[in-house]
Structure formats: structure tokens, C-alpha cells
Symmetry: C4
Subunit: 233 residues, 4 copies
């Protein structure tokens, strides 16, 4: 009997949300769920189709990227997850997808401007797009370096990973995270929706202005501020 | 036993149409249904996923925004609904969504030009887009002021809320209404469809002309005029 | 017992294909099926949602637009159908929809250029777009005149209704037809697909050339020529 | 009892994936599966709707295009399949579709630039677009010549059919292939996804740069190189 039965179940359920939300084709995505006390996370095995997944196939990995339990090879993006868990202590879940609109923005090497309240309901900044990595980083330990590329870009922009729970990696695709795997999946779906609407907004009006500061503040705070009044308390 | 069982049922059913019509992601939308005699409306509770909704979770609110019955907190947009019910005496249902194409037009701060008969079958004007509110209004009682922003823009354009049952709030998203909640939901779906086709029309022909007056009049009147001949009498 | 049971069944089944093929929202479309010997056609009743349709609700109308049998009011577009049946003796079915991409081209007042073999598999001409009608025609017997507008545009372009089984009516939406109602529905779906791909083609390459004549001829003839070899003989 | 029962079953199953993956409208596509030892392939019969297909309806054809077994006429594209099997000895399956985004690129006569890692996970080159054929080739044995047009374009660009398993035929539509029919179908879905994202990428940023060489190499090799670490070994 595994010590990690519940964690695997949680990671399995979060992974199975990706095809339901239309965020993945074939195996192009993965979710992990962390257990902070145990210092490990459960992640999707590499290249396994979603309809062949089961909780017991999840792989348990520590925050240095070592496999602790599991018969299958973990997702090829495992080291990126490990780096983020190790350095960002308050996240409990990470998602990587190649969802269509978010990936198109990443390929365009453009951050997604904050055009409306749907965006501001979730974060107050443009959705950042990290530049493609240097050739050295790519030829080295690529997935490990991808984690640092993400963190370095947050430092450069002065962003907090607790406030901005998503990023585009230039030429590649999005990563999202959150306090739980479930929240990280939610963030991936929100990102895809915001990316779609921002795309249309620029097509309709190439000079569409960013959302004004007062609205950014209002919408974010009504959902997340100390006096928030969205949802059930 | 609630006095408002039927009203809650009506609001519940109308809310459940939103995901079926593809108009909402997660909880990004809400419908209310009014009982004019009782001076109240039933509205979706805030932040509750559609698959967890049930008629008894609907919240009963009066036209000043006070909760009359219900254990849950009402939608964060409740005050906007209340203001519109209070000042527009002939509406029985209101819908707010962040549907993709309508929201993109709102984010673009553009009204939707009347390009064809699908539009004219439902209204004879461009679909109005209210400008973003002033900082004062935003920092004040935001959702309450949103209602006034909508009404003021109708006054400014000389529009009748009985003839034009929809608006885009700039940088935010659409509101629609109607004699019943069911009609208001119908209007939200029509708006999204018209917004999609208007988007494509401008992409195909940046100089596409507005529909000529004779066609606007003809199509609207065959559905809504005194000698209408659309549908079953 | 109706003389027209089979005809109503045929029209019913063809109408029910429209929502399955994603060509209609709510009641925005109609199909008719003709019985040439009896000199009548069966058509959808006006404004009835597809999930409330049944074969016995179909209305029987003659080629002058007079209702012969049926308790409901026929589609508001009935006279357009009648005119086309009367003047084009070899068609057995007609479809009108407001399908998204075809309607966007109609609103743009642009014919759809023949860009590829998917188009050429079905017709050798650009898909014509009739200009909006004159104010006189609109204010007169509008749906009746729509039929003449379609036929006049075919005459002006020298097109044969047996070879080109579809048209866009400018600012309005598409009509398609065929030897049977089933074929007319097929043509509506093909038109929507061709309209979607032509839209994308022009977005990708604003100078995309029309298909060369040799390919137009080849693809059309392998499906429809005397030595056709597509399908089962 | 047919010698080819298993081969027909394989071709049938692969064909049935096309509508499930959203790659075909009506009958606009076909898959074949080859048996290299027997020197034959099984292919979809021409013009038969997917919901009327069954394994026994598959047609057995040799690599010169002669029907070996089967009561129905094989796909009109059969000779293109035959030519490719005859000259490219390591492919075991071929797919032809008119999938929306890939076909739009083909109609635009543009190759699909490699913009991101989703593309590089599968091939290191731009997705080639063969020019439309000469009038002579079209008027001759058209489908046979289509096979040569594909092979000639690969020679001209110096591409290997084992590394690049897809092509657009200008003004027409895509062909994909692979070691098995299942892999060829997978490639068609990947191509459609990559074509969609490349379209959006260029709309968002008309000057979006191609993916840098180091990333192309890295992503391809982690899936396909000698030290690949994607999937289960």
C-alpha cells in the first residue's frame, strides 16, 4: 500500500480535467500535485494517453526531481515542476499545457495585455511571456533550466508568484500553478479563455487600450482583496 | 415552504441554460428572474459552479439590493440587476455573461455595427457599448453604479430598453434583459452569435457597410411590428 | 390521413439535420422538400424550435405560396422557396440558414473565391453574392422578391442553378438547393465549410490566387462529369 | 474468408478516428493501411459516409493501384496512396483529409513556419507546401501524378519522408503518413493543431520569428533522438 494514495488520486483527477476542459490534444499536457509535508509531488507519467491514465500510474517525485515511487517514467517536464516547487514554497499544484490560444501568444513572444475585467478578476498584471532561453540553457539541463527561466522572468518584472499564477514561455507554451492542483487547472482554463478574448480584442481594435487602473484594482479586490465579496465566504 | 418556490425554479432553469448555450466558463455569468408583484427577484448565488446549482440555492433580493431570503450570498453583480429592475419597470429577467465574442467587442470599446438581417431580426440599432466608468464611480458602489452607467448610456443614445435589450459595458462584458428570464437568456445567445458574425464580417471586408435602412425596418417589423408574421401567433 | 405523410417526413428529417450539423441557432433556418408531381412542398413551421418539431407540424404549400395543409403558419421565408420551386423546375429541396461563416461573407457583400479543391469538388464558380435588394423590392412583397433577386443574379452572372446550387444574399444569409432536400442540406454544410476555409485563406495570404482552371475542371469532373469516378456508381 | 481481415480491420479503425478527431466533414478524407509483406494496402471505399463504414467494405489494392479484393470502388485518391507506398518503402499508413486549418494553409500556398515546440516535438522543418501541379500533370493521370508531385517536392527541399511525415498540396489539402495507419492519423491531428496555432501566431504578431535552432533540436531529440526521454521506453 502506497503512502501516497491520496496524492496520486488528487493528481489523477486534476489531470483528467485537462481533456474535459479542451486544453490538451493527445498527451500534450501534464498536472502535478504536491504534498509539502512529505516533500514530494505526484505527476502524470510521460506520453500516456488520458484515457489510459489511472491513479496508480502517477509517479511520485521529490523536489530535486528524483523518482520516489512509480513504475513509469514521469512527464518529460518533471524537472520544471520540481524547480518551481522547490523555490516557490506556497504552491501545491502545477499545470503545463499547449492550449491553443495561450500557446499562440507564447509563439508570438507577446505578453497578453490586460484588456478587461475577466483578466482583472484573476490577476492585475499583463500575463508575462518569458523570452526563449539562451542556447546554453537549452543544450544543458533543459527542463531544469525552464524552471529558472520562469523564476528569473518573475524577478525581472518584480512579480509575485502568489499574485500572478501563470506565465507563457516564449516559443513554447503556458505554465500555471496555484495552492492546489485543482486551482492550477482552473488557472489554465482561465488563461486560455483570456488569451482567446485578448486575441479577438486586438483583431477588432488594433489600438484597444489596456484596462484602466481603477477597474483593475476594483475587480481584483472584489475577488481577492481583504474585503472581497465574490463567492461564498 | 418558501413563497418564492416558482420564482427560484424559473431563475434556476434560466441559469442552467448558460452552460448549455456555451455562454459561460466556470461561474462567469448569472441570471435573475423578477416577480414584479412581489417586488423581488431570484438570482444565482455568487461563485457557485453550475453543476452544483439547485433551485433552493437561488437568493431572493428586493429592488434595492437587500437579501430577502436565502442562505447564500447573491451574485456579486446583484446590485446592477437591482438598479435595472427598479428603473426599468417592464423587464422580468436579466443576464450577465462574459461570453467570448461579445466580451471581445466590449474590451475593444466598440459598439457592434448592424451588418445584417440576423441583427435586424432582433434590434434596429448598433449594439451599444457604454464607456468604462469614471474612477469615482468605480471606487464607489461599483455594481450599483454599473446599473446607472448602463441607463445613462441608453439615455445619451436615445435608446429604449424595451426595443434594445442588450448592451456591452466597455472593458467588461455584456448585459442582456427581456420580459422574462428565458427571453433574456435568448438575447444573450443572439448577442454572442451576432458578435461572432460581425467580427468575421469586418475581417473579411474592413469597409463592410451597415445594413440599409429599408432592410433594418423590414426584418425588425416582420418579427416585432404590428403586422409581424414570424412565428406562431 | 394526409396525402403528404411521406413528404412531411422527408422535410422533417432534413430540417433536423440543421442543428446536428451546427448550421442553426434557435430557429434561424428552414428546409423544404418538394413533390413535383403534386406541385407542393413541405416546409418547417415558423419560429418552432427544432426540439419541438415533428413530421405532422410540417406545412404543405403550393408553388404560388398558398398553404394547402397544416395547422401552423409556414416559415416566414416560404415565398422565397415557392418562387424558386416555380421557376427552377429541377430542384426538389431548398435550405435557408444563417450559418456563421457563410452569413459573414453575405454581410461583407463578397462572393467566396474558389481557392481550392474542396470548393471545386462541388462547383466551378465563385459562390455568388447577390446585392441587397432595392428599397422598392424590400418594401413590397419582400420574401417573394428575394426569390427573384436570387434568380436575377444567376441570370446576370450566366450561372446555371443545376451547376451552382448555392448563393449568398447580400447583408442577409445563404440559400442552397438541390435535387432533394437531403442534397440541399448537404450543400449548406459544404458551403459553411468552404466559407470557413476561404476566410482563413485570405487571412493567411491576402493575395491568395484563385484555383487554376485545370484543377477546377479536374476536381469537378471527377465528381460530376460523364467519366466521374468518385463514390459508388 | 479474406486473407486481409486484419488489415481491413486496422484500416477501418484508423478511418473511424477521422470524424472523432474532427478532421473530416462528410466523406472528405481517407486512410489506408499497408501490409508490406503482402504488397497491398486496405483503403476506404469512395464516397461512403463514416457511419456506414465497416471493416468488410475496405478495398484491398496493390502498390500499382490495382484492386485485389473488394466489391466497392476504392477512394478516388487511391493512386496517390499507391505511388507513395511503392516509392517510400518504410511507410505503413497514409491519411488524406481536408481538415480546416491545414487546408487553409494549402489554399494559401504557404508552408507552415515552425513557430514553437509543439511543431518541433514532431518535425524540425517548416511543414512543406507543394506547388499546384502543371496543367499537363492535372489533365493526365491526376491522382497518380499527385504522388509524384509530393515526392518531387521532398527531393527539391532535401527532406526525408521518415523525418517529415506530412505535406500540404498547394490549393488542395494535406497528406500525412507514418509507420502505421494509426501514426498517420495521429500526424493528421498534430498537423491540424499546429496549423491552427501557426495561423493565430501570425495574426497576433505578423513578424513572429521562427523557432531558434537550439530549441528545434532539443525538442525533436527529446522525443525522437537516440537519447529520447519522452514517453515510456
Amino acid at each position: 500500500m502506497s503512502l501516497y494514495t491520496q496524492l496520486k488520486q488528487k493528481a489523477f483527477e486534476a489531470n483528467m480535467q485537462l481533456p474535459k476542459l479542451g486544453l490538451v490534444l493527445f498527451t500534450f499536457g501534464n498536472v502535478s500535485a504536491a504534498d509539502r509535508e512529505a516533500g514530494v509531488f505526484a505527476i502524470k507519467p510521460s506520453g500516456v494517453p488520458y484515457d489510459e491514465l489511472s491513479p496508480d500510474k502517477m509517479v511520485i517525485v521529490d523536489f530535486d526531481g528524483n523518482t520516489i515511487e512509480g513504475e513509469m517514467r514521469p512527464s518529460s517536464d518533471t524537472k520544471t515542476h520540481a524547480v518551481l516547487y522547490k523555490h516557490w514554497p506556497k504552491i501545491g499544484g502545477i499545470v503545463h499545457t499547449h492550449s491553443t490560444f495561450a500557446t499562440a501568444w507564447a509563439q508570438s513572444q507577446r505578453c497578453i495585455p490586460i484588456f478587461g475585467t475577466t483578466h482583472a478578476d484573476h490577476l492585475t498584471a499583463d500575463i508575462p511571456c518569458a523570452p526563449p532561453m539562451s542556447d546554453d540553457m537549452i543544450q544543458g539541463d533543459y527542463e531544469y533550466q525552464t524552471g529558472f527561466q520562469i523564476m528569473d522572468h518573475f524577478k525581472e518584472l518584480g512579480l509575485s508568484y502568489e499574485e500572478v499564477e501563470m506565465i507563457l514561455v516564449g516559443n513554447h507554451a503556458p505554465f500555471t500553478w496555484g495552492k492546489t492542483a485543482e486551482k492550477a487547472v482552473y488557472n489554465s482554463a482561465v488563461l486560455e479563455n483570456v488569451a482567446h478574448m485578448a486575441y479577438l480584442t486586438q483583431q477588432i481594435n488594433a489600438n484597444a487600450p489596456r484596462l484602466k487602473d481603477a477597474l483593475i484594482k476594483k475587480h481584483f479586490e472584489r475577488k481577492h482583496g481583504p474585503a472581497s465579496y465574490y463567492g461564498q465566504s
